[in-house]
Symmetry: D2
Subunit: 496 residues, 4 copies
């Protein structure tokens, strides 16, 4: 811990900084996220002089989450710059999160492309052709491999139903007629053959086990990582290789016969019926007029105005889970969420990274960051970073006054009249009616506090129209709001 | 990552939670800081049912800093409750920080008290009696050992000059006539015998090395930790034992003769003259009328209104360093700062812990938390926690628009007119004129944006007068403000 | 730490042991190496009852090295059974060594086979066809992938020169006319295109850098591990996939034209001349009659009697390096040495593993374990294990009384007459004339102490003839013996 | 892994080596244990040139055990020199073992001495005076603190019974009339007040819990490490400080009254009777004439000839446990065994360290190293080191052909006639009748193979008489030999 007198620092440090910056440039690094301090300030300055962009954050935790998202979004390494000691320790969360999501550059960045063995491809095609109730599951590995073109062909040419995982959304657009996301539980439960494209059988997919799946379901697993193959469930066929290249091999193999999956099969009928009834149930919830609003009402209105080409970033518990079922993605690699590790605090870092990428590679695209109120608290101060760099981000805080659920203001005040809140307030409750939108106005952005569907519609319209500054919409919902009734009561997340 | 359906959770988890809560109660735990999630929510609830206070925070980082401060303030273990995975990783910063500050309960909590060897005490007394230019340095180890009574007697009975370390401030009041803090550099540089009471020769004390010290200065080191003895410098006498018990041994030994250090010695004269001239220089800086204000003006006015019995928490670079020289402590264990490890992000966690202790053990005392604007960003969202529990905290954000130094608003706007800020804005700059006080008003507290001494005085007066809610005073200072000229130009921190 | 009273142990432990043993059996484990203690003894017994072989070793270090070699030799996991605490720590060396050699089952064991992208294969074939001075390098990855058939076809059909790495020896026999091992340095230095089959550009291959290579040499890298691709040097073409499958792809692609590399090219002429002169120089050294013997004389005589189908295991400094250039392998996966990590102490563990595999899969084959005297010391006590299980191993200890070099007996005695050896004896010296062969006779095996070529010939003949017990030949060589003069003086290992 | 061409190495390395060697010299390092390799050879040579002794070992494991013992024996740091990579990993065992035994220099080496608080000493004295059935337990902490003089005075002046822990043996001689080691179980079980001098309530002391202790036994714990206080059991009084200084405080406090513990109390009578009957039982076992010998016969004869001033080092299961009850120590810090962590493989490294210390500080003293046959196997090759440096060590291998127990030769041969030993031989069996003494003769030392009491007596006599070289006595015992019947059947170790 250190002197602030830059001028007196030794020449050595300065030239060392240049060497490091040059090395980063040689590795094609475009973005550095970090917090400076002695002696890393010079590295940031040297990097800027070489044309690398430096984004100064407010906590190393968020900086590291941002850097890890860059790797996923651009296929080139993102860098996180921190001081030693506490800075490094604060950044560990990001490193662990990236690891759990398989974003370590050494694993994913290799340019050479491998394909699956020919005989295995043949066997996979045969299993698919013989499936009675087939299902494709599209994971973030498919997005990362840029497999969108080949997988879309597979879906359309052979008339197959598909389901995206959270970050696989958008590889094939969510509104594609073959997307059975609205019948997710049903599709998983009764499929007899499932092809996994860069998707893992982790908790989000219920580990591939009964009762969420048929006991004798056949898995065909397409993955670049040999270590992923056969986790939790023994696949019938494993196709080791680049997800896009293997999809192409499958296309070529299936092309050899005139087969297609019958679009009027009983399976398609079942799925379409279930989708219809689920969508109706959601719509009913969404159309409820009672106030405060529920999750479905909120997301229904957001979805109505969501630009087709925006990035969607999300974290939270119900906010992320329910939001995922309603908000649609139309482009690959435009969805980022808390992921396999369920890390809270990633949202704003991810949004900032996505906004940097949007500005440089997709001018005009917006980033919509959908946060639960508790999740927002982990890195809310990064709003200052968003304002400082004037990033094209719209933050939605879905506010139920707590973690999972909270108090309303009257109950809160009554409770506190005579008691110490640390002794009696349930641990999952936050302050009712927090004005998170003022975190945005404090730094010059636009803030909205909304309590009705009309206010929500209007604030969204204004936020989307105003491209001159970021905005935050603080959306008050029913503190006890939960999701609609589920078919399954065990581990009720992510299903519909 | 988790289901929200509490009712369906198994009986086992619930009773496991009770067992853990009971174990914490048995260990005399009073406070738990944390963020709940599956499956630790029940632990928090069970703990509350046993009378343990639960303080829900917004990021595990801050929760862990708060818990570690409890150990220091109360001598009983503080507990941090987090979920596994990302929660645990977020908490690592607090654990590392506690370790660097020697707050691990296993080291500090042991009830048995050890004393120094009799012959070593005798030798130390003899070295002190023969000192020409003696100096006592009082560290946080003295505060932790409750050595205030014995050390004050040593100072007064033998007329010795003393100097507190940052967290040693208040063991003997800063305004004691024998405190030579205002002549710190001089005292260190010319002392021939220095007695360290639970203080380390780390970077804050310039490692005990020339040119900041006489090459032949004799150190007498009093410490509870054998591992600390002889770090950096070989002491002439080492007194291993409880700092309070050893101070008493020293008192008894020195009492055997009628010696006292002559109050009219040349050493005392030198020190008093230096203090006078330093205080005059500070006062001159403080009285400058130019706007924006400088650090000294700000702290001069804060000191004028600072309640004698308040807790002072501080973090930042210049904010913490300069603030420490101006703001006075009158009570032991009422000063917490970023400490040896220089960790940014500890301030609000520490302030929350201090406020909990104040409410329970020192009703009516306030916590003044003095933050640099960059430091505040690390855990600013904890303001919601402060408001939720209505804690007696006044936050001062000393705002120079950056880390070490920043831009002013006009320069900022000019810069950004044609350029991408991530490419050109210096890494240490933050958004000019950020309205941090709105972070407080967002949650129902009082916020002040102050630019003049008069506004500062008024906002302080109002904050102190209003005990019904917390407040935050956002104090704008000169973006290029630094400290007054120093005698030493190498490693210019912490000296005066 | 443990009671020896087996009968009193609880039922739970016993049934737990059975569960573990059954799990190992299900994973197709055939061999367990270990040292028992409370509470793992029961696991070993339970495993034996299920038909798994248990080999009790004398130090966990050697046990772990043995277990790791099983994975390489059989393609099925080897298991090391140790007690917790010290046992586990002793075993870490084996785990680290296996990792450095890429023997972790999770990486190598996956049944699915991947192939290289078609276009990359086409490009590689084109680069090979246009090479003026091509070279194939065959690594242990080729051996592990069972690529022998396809690579031999590539060598023979297209008349290409090849070079094996230490553990790649035998994939194509060392005495194949296209093997240019005897002109190794020349081949590396002047090749313009090098195809790496499961071989790494590590220190053994001089990192692929000048001056050991042409600055513009083109590398084609065939490997199963994406992480290995592009280490140290940027390859012209990378073929990611199973080494055998990719070799077959290359064969099919090259087959499409009638090309072969001209057997009368200048490159082949240069290589053949260099091989001739190097072999002559080696032969001259080998035929030296002076005593003590030198390394070349020793290995020349060993090579003369080496059974064509034996396993060769080796470790040491000069012993391993020079031995590798003289001792020939004719079968794949029949050579094990200290490997990339240069670990000393692996030899006897590897030899024991190879002997177990030989007994079960290749009855009648012998294991020849060539050890430097220092290397032998790391795990010499495993000779008891060899004798206990009566394994078909012949140990050769090439004894120069030291590490790199030693004293002779007279110089040693003179030195010690008046001085403390710990103060003056060079750290690399061991006791002269140690009778390591008695370590073998102590346990009932045959021991030989040999000082002349005739004694060496005779002892080898007898050892090979006597299949009833293991033997150890302690071969005394010139304590200052080194290798023959090298063309390159920088990093003089492994080249010829 | 490395070139052997020393001359070509760069100057930098050489001077770096000198700097390191000088730093070690400055730290008063006397001994380095290690195995050299590139680039640490030069460090060893440079150290020798500065007068530091270098002992080249055969495996880093043993080197590290030796270095850790130096710290305990001399109070100055021992150093282990290894190459990076595998060398470091091999050394981890020693580091872990030293840690478990609290031999890390940073903890134990501090010169300053601390004492216990006066009031706590007063309370402890009062508890002792009121004890009905007192017991002192003397641990290795007492040995390390050089507390022998003060503790002996406590024992004699106040007529108190005492019990040493394994490495506490010799602080007060084992044959002192107040030593109740021969009634260990009885003494622990019925004592009402136990004073622990630098001894831990770990598994060796049955964690201080019933039924091995009275439920209401009062512990007084004297220890230098605050962290050790109160482990497992809550002490009635804790005396934190240097064990010798605190013993002196206790002496002075007890001196204030004329109290002594009545030598004719019922407690003393009970203990003396139990000792008598236990000693008779042991003697009966020892005098058994049947062959092969049992443990008691062996140790009885060893004890008869054991020099009073020798170092005793021991490891093994029954060998160490039973040997400890029979072999007596008369000097402090002359007993080393496998310790708290129960690490096998430490024996020869410890013996080598003890021999180096004996040569330099106690000329003429011998080291008797008592090994089980399995334990010997872990580092048996260090016999070469012992011979190379001609160290004054006598090795006793107590050989029951196995771990805990083994086969006899006839049973072994019968078993193997038709079966694969790896499939059927119990995991704890070693080769019957191994001639471990040849490991010694292989390197020029004296070896003895003994099967009868007479041969044992004779070989001991000769080994002790011949001071010109080390020797190894391989003592064959009954393969199924165990200890005599115990009062307690649960956890039957270490009691009598």
């Amino acid at each position: 811990m250190p002197d602030s007198n830059f001028a007196e620092r030794s020449e050595e440090q300065v030239s060392g900084a240049k060497v490091i910056a040059q090395a980063l440039k040689t590795q094609d690094v475009e973005y550095i996220f970090g917090i400076v301090g002695i002696p890393v300030t010079e590295i940031a300055i040297a990097a800027q002089q070489l044309g690398i962009k430096y984004i100064g954050m407010r906590n190393e935790q968020a900086a590291c989450y941002a850097a890890s998202a860059i790797g996923y979004l651009t296929g080139r390494p993102g860098v996180c710059l921190v001081v030693s000691g506490p800075g490094l320790i604060h950044a560990l969360g990001g490193m662990a999160n990236a690891n759990m999501n398989c974003w370590y550059t050494e694993c994913c960045m290799s340019p050479p492309i491998s394909m699956a063995e020919t005989s295995a491809v043949r066997m996979a095609a045969s299993v698919i052709r013989n499936a009675k109730q087939p299902l494709l599951i599209i994971g973030k590995g498919a997005a990362y491999a840029h497999a969108e073109e080949n997988i879309k062909k597979l879906v359309e040419q052979y008339k197959l139903p598909f389901l995206p995982t959270p970050m696989g959304k958008g590889v094939v657009p969510d509104n594609h007629p073959n997307c059975v996301g609205a019948a997710r539980s049903r599709a998983l439960q009764f499929a007899d053959v499932i092809v996994l494209f860069g998707a893992r059988l982790n908790w989000i997919l219920h580990f591939g086990l009964p009762p969420r799946y048929q006991p004798d379901v056949k898995f065909i697993q397409v993955d670049i990582c040999a270590e992923e193959l056969g986790n939790n469930v023994k696949p019938t066929v494993t196709l080791l290789g680049d997800v896009s290249a293997v999809s192409k091999q499958l296309l070529e193999e299936l092309d050899k016969t005139s087969w297609e999956y019958p679009p009027e099969s009983k399976w398609w009928k079942t799925l379409r019926e279930k989708m219809k009834s689920n969508e109706a149930a959601s719509k009913e919830l969404a159309s409820k007029k009672s106030l405060p609003m529920n999750y479905y009402t909120v997301f229904y209105h957001v979805q109505e105005q969501l630009p087709r080409d925006c990035f969607v970033v999300s974290e939270g518990a119900n906010t992320m889970d329910i939001g995922r079922t309603v908000l649609q993605n139309y482009l690959p690699r435009h969805r980022l969420d808390a992921g396999t590790f369920g890390t809270m605090g990633v949202g704003l870092g991810f949004a900032i990274a996505a906004a940097m990428v949007a500005k440089d590679r997709h001018p005009g695209q917006r980033v919509i960051c959908v946060e639960g109120d508790s999740a927002f608290g982990f890195s809310g101060m990064e709003v200052e970073t968003i304002c400082r760099y004037n990033l094209p981000i719209i933050l939605l805080v879905v506010n139920n006054n707590g973690i999972y659920q909270g108090f309303d203001m009257d109950a809160w005040k009554e409770t506190l009249k005579f008691q110490d809140p640390t002794a009696v307030v349930p641990p999952m409750c936050l302050l009712p009616n927090s004005h998170y939108e003022q975190i945005m106005t404090a730094f010059g952005g636009k803030g909205y506090f909304v309590e009705t569907p009309e206010e929500l519609q209007k604030s969204l319209r204004q936020s989307l129209a105003d491209t001159s500054k970021p905005s935050l919409i603080n959306i008050m919902i029913e503190p006890q709001a939960t999701r609609k009734a589920q078919d399954f009561h065990w581990l009720t997340r992510s299903n519909m």
